[in-house]
Each structure stands twice: as C-alpha cells, then as structure tokens.
Amino acid sequence: MPKTQLVNPEELRKPGFVKLNDIPVNQYSKSIDEEKANFSKDDFLRIFRDMLIIREFETMLYTVKTTGEFKGIAYNYPGPAHLSTGQEAAAVGQAYLLDKDDFIFGSHRSHGEILAKGLSAIHKMSEQELMEIMSSYFDGNILSVVKPQWDEKAGIKQLAIDFLVYGTLAEIFAKETGFNKGLGGSMHAFFPPFGIYPNNAIVGGSAGIAMGAALYKKVNKKKGIVVSNVGDGSLGCGPVWEAMNMAAMDQFKYLWEDDYKGGLPIIFNFMNNCYGMGGQTIGETMGFGVLARVGAGINPEQMHAERVDGYNPLAVIDAMRRKKQLLEENKGPVLLDTLTYRYAGHSPSDASTYRTKDEIDAWMAQDSIESYKRSLIDAGVAKEEEFADIRDAVESLVFRAFKTAVDEKLSPRMDPKQNPDIIGNLMFSNLKIEKMDERECEVLIPKDQNPRVQQIAKKARSAYEDGKPVPKARVYQLRDGLFEAIIDKFYTDPTLVAYGEDNRDWGGAFAVYRGLTESLPYHRFFNAPISEAAIVASAVGYALSGGRVIAELMYCDFLGRAGDEVFNQLAKWQAMSAGILKMPVVLRVSVGSKYGAQHSQDWSSLCAHIPGLKVVFPATPYDAKGLMNSALAGTDPVVFFESQRIYDIGEMFHEGGVPEGYYEIPIGEPDIKRKGNDITILTIGATLYRAIEAADILQTKYGLSAEVIDARTLVPFNYEPVIESVKKTGRILLTSDACERGSRLMDMAQTISELAFDYLDAPPVVVGARNWITPAFELEQFFFPQPEWIIDAIHEKILPLKGHVVRTNFTPNEQIRRNNLGV
C-alpha cells in the first residue's frame, strides 16, 4: 500500500475490455538443416546421447523393479521409481542451454532432468573445475568409488559423467556414496554444484522454492536463471499458483529500485505428460484445455506462456533460448507448457488402467529418440553406425554405474549401528555465520539515523524504574527487542531480506518492523501477497540458495496455509541434503489474541512435533532480542513464536534491563524467572505472566514458594535445569496457551516423569488451553489457562492446599469425561 501509487476510481471504473495476446502452441517448425546454424554435429549427437542415457537409466530401474535383476545381476530395490521413460526430449531440451549457475528444481519424476542438467553443466565446465567439484564433494568419497572404474583415456569429462550417473543411482539406492548420502532418494536426489537443486516428492512443492531461489538471484545479483520443473497435475495445487503470482508481483515493475526492476528470473516449466498420476489433466481433472492458457491469468505479459512440443528436443531448446533471453532482460517470470508423454506408469505398480494400450502405442510410434535419430540421419548429420556406437557407450556407462552402485562393499549404506547419531547429526547444521556474504549491506540511511532506533534510545530498558512501573509509552517493549536484533542484522548481513504480509509501510501488523522501511530498499524488505505457502516456500528457496531470510506469518492460525512449506520443506532439506544445504530462515509467527477461533491459536506444538525445526517462544524483551540474535546468527530454520498479548511488555526479570549492545541467548536453554522451593512451574510463551501471578498467590495465601521456569525454546530443549528444579521441589506443573491435547507440554511432562520419577511427589501436571475453539475475547478466561486454574490444579492433583476452595474442575473424573467427549 505505497502512497506513491494512487488507487484511482476514475481509472478503475472505466468500461472496456481486457485483451489477451495469442498463446503460441507448438509453433516450432525449423528443419534440421535450418538448425545446423545453431548446432554442430557434436551438439546434435550429444543431444541424442543425453536422451539415450536417460532412456537407458530409466529402463534399467524399470527392469530392476519388475524383475529383481539387471543384465544378470540381482538387486532388490524397494523404494520408489517414478520413471520418465518417454519424456527424454523434454528433459534434455530444458537443460541443454543451462550451466551450473542456472538452478533447476524438479518433481518426484526428475531422474531425467537431473541427468540432463548434469550432462549439460559438465559439457560447459572446464576439466579443472569438474575435478575440483568431484574431489571436494563429501571429501571425494563419491569420486573414489567411480575413479577405479574409469578409463583414463576417456578423459575427465567422461569421469564426470560416470560420477553423475553413479551418484544419482547410488542416491536412488540409498547408498552413503549417493549425492545425498542416500537420505534424499529417488524423488529428492540433487547435486547443487551442477546447479541441480532439490527435487520434491510433494506435487508442486518445487514451484515456490524455485521462486525463492529466483528471488535470491535477483536480490543478490547472482548469475543464472531458475527453472521449476513440475508436472501438469501440480496446477491443481494452490501453492503453485501462489508461487507464479508472487514471481509476477507488480512491485518488481513499479516499486523496486532501478537495477532491481523487473519480474523474477524464473521459468515455470510444466512437464505436461497429460496425467497427474492417473488423473487426466486435459478432459478430466483440470479445465485449462491448453496448459499454457494459465499464464494469461497471472499478469499482462501472460507469463510469455506457450506450448512447446516436448517430443522434439530442438523445439524445447528453441523455446528455452527465447525464454532465457526474456529473463535476462528482466521480463520474467515465464510459463512453459512442455508437452510430453510417459510410457511407464506413474510407478511400476501402476497397471495403466486409466489409458489404452493404443494410446501408449500411438506415442511410442512417435518416440522422441527414434524420430530425432531418423531426422538426423535423413538430414545427413550422422550415420546409423554412429548412433550404434553411442548406444554401446551409453549401455556400458549405465551398466558400470549399476554394477558399482549395487556392490555392498563399494557402495555401502549409512551404518547407524556403527554411528547411531549419523542421521541425527544431520538434522541441524548448528553453525554460526554472522553474514552469508561479504559485500556491503544496501541500506538507505545509517543505522543511528533510523527514527525507530532514535525513539528506542529514549526508552527505559527495564519495566521498573526506582521500583515503580514505567508507563507503556516510555518502556522498552518486547517488540523493540525484536526490532533491535533484526535491524542490527540488516546492517550486518547483506543477504538478509524480510517479507510477509503488510511488512513495509505498515511496519508489520504489530509494529515490530515500524521504522524498518526508512532504512531498507524494497528489494530487502517488501510486502508479500497473501500467500503463506509462497512466503515460506520462497524463504526455503532463498535460504538454500545461500541467503538469510526472515519470513513472517501474520497470525499463527495461517500456518495451516503453509503446512507443506513449513513441515515438509523448511524442516527437511538440511537433512535430506546430508548437510549440503543450509537453511538460515527465521519464520516469525505471531500468536493472536482477542480475535477468536481462527486468530488466537498457539500452534507451537505442531512445529515442535516436526523434526528439523528449531522452535522458540520468548516471553520477555530480553529473551526476544537475545533469541532473535541467535536465530539470525545460525544456519537452521527457526520458527520464532511471538505473542500478541505481550508485544508491549517491559523487561521485568533481567537485572539491568535489556542490554543495548549485541548479545545472544542460546536456543534451547530454559530460564529460571523466579526462584522457589516448593513447586516448579514450567511455562511456554505468554503464560509466564499468569504463572507468576499464580506464584504470588501460592506465596501469599498458602506459604508455598514456586520456582517459575520459562522454557523459552521448545526445540531443542535442555531438560537439566528443569530436572534440577524438580529434584528440589518434587513437584511440577506445566502451562502454556496451546490446546492441551497432544501439546509440547504433554511431551515435556512425560519426559520429566521419566527423568525425575523418583523425585516426584506427584505426577507432572499440565494446564493447557481447552480443547475447544478459542472463543471471543470476553470469554477467553474460560479458554486460556488462568492463575486460578494453576492453583486449582495444584490443589487437586499435586498438593491439597489448606482451606483452598476450587473454582475449576481438575478432578480425574473430569479429565476422563472430557476425553470421552473429545474436548
């Protein structure tokens, strides 16, 4: 909502028509003779070879899956095999012009794209560069397996091709010598040094991530373009539309600064094989008729969309050449409808009940490899024998890789027996990197001239001055703590970007970012569309490409809109890459208050449940700043929960208030906010303050001293201080605003029971929010834990308090009754 642009009623209410441009469909019509200007004989034959490598590779996998052997060597491969037999021309065509600086992201059916992109990158790289990559990747472990099988006379490039085919296959077979140590597998294999980025088992999952990688290239002025290779079926997925829309935002054209102007350098290349698993996209599950039509719905340029004949590699290369040119002119994004067809089923278990044999035969009759070979022979480029020689070489290449990959000695799997932490150690990178790049930070004014910085300088950094509470208007608030950490990093790390809904101008819905607009150009700080999936997915793509990012979900309740992106993408890629990728993303999530059922939920437990995410929830300004500093210095995804109930709270616990300088609070360490001896209260988030109230009541009315511990972090979590406390007090109550059932508190209570059983005078008791919808603010006292609930629960379940009269029902009967009802 920039004021520079007028939303003009005169303009907008005028009658008229939206005119669409023609959408080209299979307009390529050049002959081989015409293409001789663009391709040498070697090029023509290399295209053939690359297609054949894919065909042979997929055929080998199909044979192994269906017969348990290949060329006499038995092997049992239980994993997935979504083969792309039939789609070779499309794969080779999209990759042909791309080098290592161009990133491709794929789908569950991307073996062909991996091989094609790798072969293209190898062709364009120097031998020295290739050797450096191969000998440094996993300390040369993969190279040392491939090298003994390699005929030195064939050259380094051939070695690199062997490396590519073997690394991919070993990865599919879950070998430690695979590109991702076997942790990615068939649907996720990738190799960043050749510009091959994660393929994704979630349909359409790559679209948003690829868009984020394109954002990274644009913001950081990196070479190359990005290609999102997803299927036609993925157009049924909202996040794919979100990604295309965000890539085409008007602000790139109108608001971003001079040399940052223009849409993102990305091609949404839809490998249109006419089926989404068994669902026919044309005629059954979709309504676009021609997929390329979709571009017209995204922006006035219609995403430069066209359909290209994916059965002719030269047609695809031709389209890619023109589209790449557009991206280099900052005219992205582009949509490509690459028509193709797969012969194999969705997977080997697919009996193709949804299509006729005649249909398959009709496509096979026009097989891309055969017809391409025929056209080259017809045009006199090469003779039949030359193709036979290529075929021999390809068969021997794939067989070589197969023999090596199935060999248990040469290609072992990870051994968790020997090293029980081998996978666990990959869940987080746990690095500390101050800045992701060394260049200068682009900012608009010096930090000390920032109006918010100047305003904060006048504030009291403690909640109390001379024992009296400081008024809200003058106290350093939790939101100030977040701001200080964030603006500090913007002046330190040039790659840092922040975006989300209403971040710029508005300053974030809860004024955390107020003042940031004055310091930062658009390309570092901007408003995202209301597209939670695209916001998080692009953050994932931005981070795994090498940048640092703060993405924001305005309300925790909107997390559902980004479920796949948080749970399957953000959380997974570090481990699935076997540590190759880093994920320096801070996902700010604001837990609502006062706004009812869809705007007041604490879903920190959902995030804590998913392996691969760090989850923090500070409740004081001191902790908010220290934890944000830690999150922004690390390389792991941190879901950073904030509570709208306490954005304005001052620092009540840390002696001396919030330090002005930089400091970090380690993620994972709980903090004792009040010392005590008789009972421990462990809190998560804003409930801290209700626990403190309860502690006051326990002290004054019942003479009990409560030790109040703020968990601060949900994952990771150091139990030792809590266990020490429980050993002392013998009793513990846990409380947070999350709905009680299945919450992180329940998990903690269970762990505490195990770790401190012999010290417990009563079972750990959890007081969470009701398993209801959050009611209106006026009724919230019946939903969120209140100080009285804490006292009642202690009285009923832990330590009967003399003279206490309960108001709420914490009896075992009530617990059973509610569970019976599911509430």
Binding site: L760, P800, T811, I816
Partner: protein, 468 residues
C-alpha cells in the same frame, strides 16, 4: 429429619480414625447420648454418642474400617426416611469391605449437634463440576476427590508418591503408617515428614513394662463381626486365645523395634538421696485437700528438677535428625502414662517456664485424659525429653527405650532404703534409682553422666533448687 453422624476430627493432624466397635445395630432404637460406636486414632480412643433420639437407619462403615474424618459414619432418624442423600458415596453396610470412602464426595452438611461445619475445617471442597455432574464421575468413586485422608488402598496397594517413598526409605519408617493428604488418598512427602515428627513425640517409653495379656478394653473386638477367628483345625482350640492387635499396639510394636534397631542407645544408672524431697512432700501434704499443692508427688518434683537441669545440657534436650541436631530452647517434657490400651506419652510444653504446681496440675490432667481416652492428639507430640516412672511397681532400675528423635529418656525407680556412712557411723536413707538412656550417636558418655550428676545434686538439694 434424619441426622448424619460424622467421624469427628480429633486434633489438627488426624485425618482418619478406625472404628473399633459398633454398639448399635441398624434398626436399633437409640436415644440422644447413647454410645453408637467406639473409634480410635493411633493415639487415643473415643466413643461417639447419638446426637438425637430415633432409629439407627444406616451404618456406612464396619468395625476396623479406617474412616476419613468428617465423613458420615451412620444416620439416626425415623423409620422410612429417605437417607440416600446422606450416603458418603457407597452403599450402606453391604459395600465391599476395604473400599475406602471418600471424605469429600458427601461432605457433611452439618456437624453433630446441628451446627454448620465451618468451611475451613472441611476437607477440600469438591469441584463444582463434579458435584453437578455426578453421573460420569460415579464410576470412579473415591478417586474423584482429593485429600481423602487415609492412604488409598486398592486391595492392599498403598498409593504413595515416589518422592515420599524414597524419603520413608531413607528415614527407615513404614510409609503405610502415614496419613495420606495427597490427591486421591496418595501419601505425599509432607505426610512422611509429619509421620517422622509424630513418631518423635509419641514413641512408647519402655520395654521394661511387665508383659500382661493384651486386652485393652477399648479396643477388644466384641460382637459378631469381629469375634475371635477360629483357629486352625489341627491346633487345640483351648491352647491360646487369639487377639487381634489394636492399632495402638501395632504402633507401639513398630516404634519399639525401630528405636532399638536404629539408634545407639545405652543406659547409665545412678540414684539420689530422696530425704529432701520426701521431707518437702510431707510438708506439702499438710496443706488443705483442695489446695493443689497437696497433690504434688515425688514424680512431679523429679519432672520439675529435670526441667530446670536440662537446659544446661542441651544435647540431651534435642532431636537427632539425619545430618543435624535440633537443640530445643525449652523443655517439652514427655510423661509416660500407663493406660489400659497401652503406654501413652503426653507432653508438658515448656515445662522449664512452669512452676512446680503448674507442672503437677498439668501432668495429672494429662494422665487422666490419657486414661479416659479423651486427650487430644495435639498433646501427644513434640516432646524434647521423656520421663518414665516404674517406681510404683517396685522396679529399682531399668533400661528405658529411647523415643527418637529425642536423644535421651530418664527412668525413675522405686524408693529403697540404703545405708550410707556418716561421721556418726552408718545411717539409713531413702534412695531413688535414676536410669538415663541416651543416644550415643548424639551424646557421649561423660556429658550424659554430668547431666545425671547435676540432676542428682538438684534433687538432693531440692529446696535450694526451688529457690533458684
């Protein structure tokens, strides 16, 4: 209108009482003041009388049931009255034995005599939700409420928190004796702590007491329900009589054993010339019969002398705990009293601040209350030193058994004539034996002997001591 009869709370620390005998059957006519049932705590026995005229309509507990205080035990009313609302959450009489009833599920509306029970005295109030929605909760019965008093016992399984259990193990006491104050009748840490300190105050004094048939009248089971169990067929029925141990006898047995097995006790013997105190006693007897000083006896004077001597020997007026000693600033004198039910040890608090007459009066009242079973358990704890006297039974010297965590106990023997050498030759004098048992873990022999010596001096010069 039917009147519920509740189990009274006898003393602040008492959470439950055992019914020892029913005196009325369901259907019997009763008059106000008739004894309905007898019951005991681990320290004292009591009778509960009917608050009204009428018919005993229901009994909710049987003999030997441990009933949480303030729970309805039975109902007196008129024939045909609906009393279902008064049931403490279990079927009358026919309920399976051993099921503890909840203290709170039907908290009595009125105390005996019709006065409203003070809210603060009632056990934790049942949650409003539970009271309003009885149906879902009914299946769980006692578990639905907290603080039911006696340890919850599911077929012999006692509920106890791990922390309380480990404390009991360290203190070497049987947690089953604890009075549960935790949720759902669970024994929790504080229950073990109070058991430890109760033990310190109520431990029986001596093992030297001549054994006699254990037939304490108040706890002797009578009537059909608790008639002696027939002995096994192979044993002649007449060979012995089998008597169920009373609660109190069990406590005494455990405490005696624990004292002797967990402390390092030994006894020093001495005696003193009682001429002075006997002469003084003679003079006091000359006072009018209604003058309290006329009933001061030798034991009272010994108590007085002990209270005045002890504070210069503080390690003997002490509690020995795990890793520390509590040296008490005042002397809380435990006095062993022989009753029909067994030995009891009431306490004269801060005896060092009281006059001889006060001590004498108080000792007498406490002994009387013990013998009638009317003593509040509050007077049965927190002693710092104990005096026991078997002199009346002709015992000269004995070895009193310590009452841990106290560090010492004094036994007083009978008066015997001895002779001593004087300048004029040999002269008889009345001698009284003193036996001081002390815990060698806390006190060495010499300091203990020095106490005994000073006590002897003070008793032999009692009139001088009185003047101090």
């Amino acid at each position: 209108m039917a009147t519920p009869v509740i189990m009274p709370r006898q003393g602040q620390t008492v959470e439950s009482c055992v019914i020892t005998q029913w005196h009325k059957q369901v259907g019997d006519s009763v008059s106000a003041g008739d004894v309905l049932f007898s019951y005991e705590t681990d320290k004292a026995a009591f009778d509960e009388v009917s608050p009204a005229d009428g018919i005993l309509l229901a009994r909710y507990f049987e003999e030997n049931d441990d009933v949480p205080v303030l729970t309805t035990v039975c109902v007196v009313g008129q024939k045909g009255e609906d009393i279902s609302a008064l049931s403490p959450g279990r079927a009358a009489v026919s309920a399976p034995e051993g099921t503890p009833a909840s203290a709170t599920e039907a908290a009595p509306a009125t105390a005996p005599g019709g006065t409203p029970a003070p809210a603060s005295e009632a056990s934790p109030v049942p949650a409003p939700g539970a009271a309003q929605t009885p149906a879902p909760g009914a299946a769980l019965g006692p578990e639905a409420t907290v603080g039911s008093g006696s340890p919850a016992d599911d077929g012999g399984r006692v509920r106890i928190s791990p922390r309380a259990r480990s404390l009991a193990e360290r203190a070497k006491i049987d947690y089953k004796d604890a009075t549960a104050s935790g949720p759902a009748g669970r024994i929790i840490e504080r229950d073990i702590i109070s058991l430890i300190s109760e033990r310190a105050a109520t431990h029986p004094v001596t093992s030297a007491r001549p054994e006699r048939p254990a037939q304490p009248a108040a706890s002797l089971p009578q009537g059909q329900a608790s008639a002696p169990v027939p002995s096994a067929p192979s044993t002649p029925a007449a060979a012995y009589e089998e008597i169920k141990l009373s609660n109190m006898r069990k406590r005494i047995a455990e405490a005696m054993y624990r004292s002797l097995s967990t402390t390092a006790q030994l006894t020093l013997h001495s005696s003193f010339d009682a001429s002075d105190i006997l002469a003084y006693r003679k003079r006091l007897k000359e006072a009018k019969a209604d003058d309290p000083v006329s009933s001061i006896n030798i034991t009272h004077m010994i108590l007085y002398a002990v209270s005045r001597t002890l504070l210069s020997h503080r390690s003997l007026n002490a509690h020995l705990l795990d890793d520390k000693m509590l040296l008490w600033n005042h002397v809380n004198l435990g006095i062993a009293v022989d009753t029909d039910r067994g030995l009891m040890v009431p306490t004269v608090f801060e005896a060092d601040r009281k006059s001889l007459t006060q001590i004498a009066m108080e000792a007498k009242q406490l002994a009387d209350a013990c013998r009638t079973g009317s003593l509040s358990p509050d007077y049965l704890q927190n002693g710092t030193f104990t005096v026991t006297n078997l002199g009346a039974l002709g015992v000269e010297y004995f070895t009193p058994v310590l009452n841990p965590p106290q560090t010492a106990i004094l036994g007083v023997g009978s008066i015997v004539q001895r002779i001593k050498e004087t300048e004029d030759g040999v002269e008889p004098y009345p001698a009284v034996g003193l036996s001081l048992t002390f815990d060698h873990r806390a006190v060495d022999g010499a300091p203990a002997a020095r106490f005994l010596q000073e006590l002897k001096d003070n008793l032999e010069n009692f009139s001088v001591l009185l003047a101090r």
